[in-house]
Every structure is written in C-alpha cells, then in structure tokens.
Amino acid sequence: MALTKDRLWKVYRDMVLIRRFEEEVEKYAQNGTIPGFIHLSIGQEAAQAGVVEALKYTDYKFPDHRGHGAIVLSSPQERRKNCMSEIFAKESGINHGRGGSMHVNDLEARNMGFNGIQGSTVVTCLGTAFDSYYRKANKMEGWEADDKDLDVTAVFMGDGTLGEGTCHESLNMAATWNLPIIYCLINNHYAISTHYTESHPQQQLSTWGKGYEVPSFTVDGNDIEAVIEITEQAAERARKGEGPTLIEFMTYRWQGHFSGDPAAYRPDGELEAWQAKCPLLQTKKKLMEVHGYSEEELDALHAEVEEEIQGYVKFSLESPSPKAEDAMKFVYMDREVEGR
C-alpha cells in the first residue's frame, strides 16, 4: 500500500523530528548535561513513526527503553518540548524530571511509559487492552453500542526482551481472550551485544507468534509504508475484537546499546550496510522521485524541524531543576511519606 503524497510527507517529517531529537539528546548526554543512561533510536525511526501514525490518539502506546521517537510523536505538539525536558531532568519535564529518558509518560496522550524491567510493560499492556474489552462486555457507560470499536494497545518490545517469560504469559492470555493488542517486536538484531540468533532458536522471531495461532508477520521495519500498512491492518482486527497481532519489524540501531557504547561486537560493514537502508533516506528518495518534491521543499521541512527541535533544546536547557523535596510526592496516592 502506497501512502498518499501528503501522508508520506507528514510521516517523513515525523521521522526527521525523531532523528533530530535523538541527535540532540545524544549531544547533551555526551557532554554530561543529560544524566543517566540514554538509549537512542537512530536508524529505527520508521518503526516508531509508522506505528504511531497507524494508531489513534486514544490508543494506548507502551514505548520501550529505546522509545523517544514513539514518545515524542504520541504527545501533541504543545507537550513535545516537555518530553525532552523530562530527559534533561527538569521541573518542566512531563513527569517533572523524576523519570528521565526511560520513564517519559504522557497519560493524556495514552503514552503509558516504560518500565525499566524488560518485559514488564508486555504484561501491563494486557490491562489497558482489557479495559475497553471489559467495559464493552459489561455495557458500561459509553460502551453500550455493539459495534463500538475497542481501544487498541500497542506495545514495543525488542528482540532481546522476547526472552522474558512475561512475553509468553502475555501473548498466551491475549490470544485466548482476543485482547486488542499489537505486539510490535522491534528486531534491531541485537540485545546489547547479543545477536538475536544467539539467544533465540527461530530464524525469524515472528515464528514464535505462530505457536499461539496468532497472526504473525515479519516486515521491513525501515519501510515506513510497510510499517503503517501492517499496523493499520492489525489495529483494525484489534478494534473489531479479533485479537492480537505480532509484528516483527526488521531494523537496526546505528548507535551502540547506550549512548557511549562503542558497539565493538558488530562485524565490520554491518552498520554501513544498514545506514544505506536508512528509513529517512529511503523516504526522501520516494518523496522526490515518486511524488515530485523538490530539494527546496525538503530543505524547508528540515529547517522547520530544526527550528522546532532547537526550541525544545532551549526550553530544556533553560528550565529549572525540580525541587528536591518533590521526590516525596506520590509514593502513595492518599498518604504522605516522611521527608527530611
């Protein structure tokens, strides 16, 4: 399925936004401004932008630890800068700086955030999927209509994360109950240093889903059109109550596991081969060759994104740190915990 000209333009812009977002994060992580560990998604923009594009604002999104792209695109324009300032540990951060890179969530946009324990969100997502399933079954307020669509839940999980027992428990339950979940398996070939073929028996990881009799696919995760098409189909099934889908997106992370990892475990030339398959490059080519966009139009898009990103960075740098005592807030919903 080819996207319309406008839509391809839009998602190209989304991908450029991710790329530039990540590059700035990397810069400030490297120079010590951003604390903690940072996992960058450069090279994987299509799988993130495509999945978010295929979903509604009201669908639940569970980004993974390499999820800045899905995170920033999930939030509406006005809160995207707060996603970045969260990573900078600032009071203006969308979670007031208490979470950081691994824990940027925006419940209003149904970005449900990540949990640092790999595989944890893969079971939490059962619950968001269960919510509309339950409300509809019980004809709760707003859910009386027989033909009302379920809310879809999309969970991102890496090839390595598939090793966790939670993945099995989740797919087993989702498939038994036909829960509206899309398992977005981002196969970027490595879990830290370990190639997926060294820790899993399958040639393609989507084979795993077939063991549950769940529709399971492997697609080129760098082809944004393919990503959107397959995800839209999965979302359609999920909304109608036809159950989960597993999609393996084949892609590659250009950086090491975390910002600063030299990634010495990769064979020579592998990175370069994948860089040639850059999702932005591919899309740009299509925009120009198939849809007739000009170099100038693309430059204008890039400049616009640049301005936007620089706005986020400025905002992040200028925002103050949170108050130390605010660390005591919300341990419990209904009671205070003693501070200093």
Binding site: N95, H96, R98, G99, H103, N105, L107, M112, G113, N115, G116, I117, S120, V122, V123, T124, C125, L126, G127, T128, A129, F130, D131, Y134, A137, N138, M140, G165, T166, E169, S170, N172, M173, T176, K329, F330, V331, Y332, M333, D334, R335, V337
Partner: protein, 325 residues
C-alpha cells in the same frame, strides 16, 4: 443483632456487595470464576456477573500485569493468588510495577488493585504452600499489606482495600477461613493504616496479627490471672505500619512482645523492635521479645511443622521474661 459468618463467607460477601455497588470492580485468577476459587472464596460471582469474573491461565505475571494496566484505566481488579507463596513468580509486578506506578505516573494514576493471597502454615503442605510473605514486601514503599484476623475485619478491610487507591496485598490466613464472628449484613469498610487496640493493658504490649491474635488473646487472659496486664495491638495494616498507635502503647507499657508466624529473621517484628528502640528507647523497661517460627523452610511432617511454627507457651514465657527483667 448481627449474624455470625465465617471468615471465608465474610470475604465472599464483601466481594458480592462491593461488586454490586461498583461496576468497575472485577475478579480474576486461577479457578476464581466457574469454580468459585480453590478455597471457595469467590463462589457465586461468576454466576451473577459472567463478564466480571475471569479464570486465567497459570500466569501470575500476566494476572498482575493486567491488574496494573486495567487499574490505570480506572478499573478495580481483585486478583487471587491461590497461595501467597506464588508471589515469588510475580514479585516484580508487585514491587517494580504496582508499587511504583503512582510514583512513575507522578500522581496521575496509580495501581488501585487488590491481590488476595492465601497465606500461612499449618495444613501440612510444606515449603511452597505455607509461607508468610509480608516481610518480602515491607521494604517496598508504595505497597500496602492488610491482614485481618477475624471475619468482621476481613469483610470491612477487604472493602477498604478495594477502595484504597494503592496496591494492596490482602492476606488471608488459610487457618482462619472456617473461624466465625459477628459480621454486619450491610456493606461497611474499615479504614486502612490504623492499628486496632484489641485490649487495653498497662504492663506489656503484645503485637500480633492473623492467627497469632488467638495466641495473644489467650495469653492475655492467662496472664491477667497472675496480675499482669496486657495490651494487645493488631496492626491490621501491616505495611505501612501505624507507628503512632504501636509506639504510644509501648511507651505506656514499656515492654514489647511480638508474636509473628513467619521466621524470626527480618520478620516484621524486626521493624517493630527497631522502631521502638529508635523512637522511645527511654520508655523501654525490658528487652524486645520475638515469638516466631524457627528460621527454616516449613517442613511437611506434622511433628516437624509443629516444631517449627510458633508455640503458644513461648508467648507466656516471653511475657514472664519481660516482666521479670
């Protein structure tokens, strides 16, 4: 006049009544729906609300994960862990997800879930079906642990737990299921975070929960005859502890005996002991005494299980010792 109801009947009634009142409450777990629970606690719910009672696979991580996610959307799940010992396989979902969700979501949402867990020894089921799990969870801010000792408390505390906005592990001691007490027919809830002064007294404070309450009450009577006045405190919410009530009591009596079913080492008696020696050292008249299980896995052979679990005589002995000090 209120009727007498069993501990298990009281829990069942609490679920029925609160589910009647609040359509966001639902139950899930292994065999909780069609069978009504391995211990029969959830009987009749599936028949009444087939879409609000879910039999699951043996997937405790998925069960708790589902609870956490559903709670964030505004549902109120009540899950059953057939045996509390199984917390081991879903520990991460409790401590790193449920307990931290409110914090991670910066107060925008929390894991308002109840995990009913069947706890304790005494039925000759050995290592993996007899443990007291509260100490495994008490180092985790964000969690709540509730432990009723009779049917009246069970009903009110379960309702209070369902309404509490935080993740609650609700401990049901299997030896209590058949015990009876007076239970109002109407729906009521008991406030969490409040310890109950079961009996006032002036010489010794005994803190006990669940089945150990029976030891405490019997001991208080026996000691009363000797002129020793015992104050009994039931924490009810084991975590976070109602520090004030407990500390005030020990400040008054000057003597603390904790009767706890689980092993001694790092049981909740340890926290109680530390609390008093930290906060009211000057009021203490005698050493802490911990009457507990021995520090071993719970063995199967009845003579051995009985040897390992706390002995009533040791409560009396401990009280005599603190008085004689």
């Amino acid at each position: 006049m209120t009727r007498k109801l069993s501990f298990s009947g009281a829990i069942n009634e609490a679920l029925h009544q609160e589910m009647e009142r609040d359509e966001t409450v639902f139950i899930l777990g292994e065999d909780v729906a069609k069978m009504g629970g391995d211990f029969g606690i959830t009987k009749g719910i599936w028949e009444k609300w087939p879409n609000r009672a879910y039999d699951t696979a043996l997937s405790e991580q998925a069960i708790l994960g589902l609870c956490n996610g559903a709670a964030v959307c505004g549902l109120k799940p009540v899950a059953e862990l057939m045996f509390a010992d199984f917390v081991g396989v879903c520990y991460d979902q409790l401590i790193n997800n449920a307990a931290k969700l409110c914090y991670m979501y910066d107060g925008q949402a929390s894991a308002q879930i109840v995990v009913r867990a069947v706890t304790g020894g005494g039925i000759r089921c050995a290592y993996h079906h007899s443990q007291c799990i509260e100490p495994w969870l008490m180092n985790i801010p964000g969690l709540v642990i509730v432990a009723p000792s009779n049917a009246y408390e069970a009903k009110g505390l379960l309702v209070g737990s369902i309404r509490n906005q935080n993740p609650v592990v609700f401990l049901e001691h299997k030896l209590l299921y058949n015990t009876k007490s007076e239970v109002p027919e109407e729906l009521y809830d008991i406030e969490l975070y409040k310890a109950k002064v079961v009996k006032e007294g002036s010489d010794i404070t005994i803190v006990a929960a669940m089945t150990m309450m029976a030891f405490a009450e019997k001991a208080a009577k026996e000691l009363e005859k000797e002129g020793i006045s015992v104050e009994i405190i039931n924490p009810l919410t084991i975590f976070p502890l109602d520090k004030e009530t407990i500390v005030d009591s020990v400040a008054k009596t000057g003597r603390l005996v904790v009767v706890q079913e689980g092993p001694k080492v790092m049981g909740y008696a340890a926290e109680l002991g530390a609390m008093v020696v930290e906060d009211i050292f000057e009021y203490l008249k005698a050493p802490l005494k911990r009457v507990t299980s021995l520090d071993v896995p719970v063995p199967f052979a009845p003579v051995q299980e009985d040897y390992v679990l706390p002995h009533y005589d040791d409560v009396i002995k401990a009280c005599h010792e603190v008085m004689a000090f």
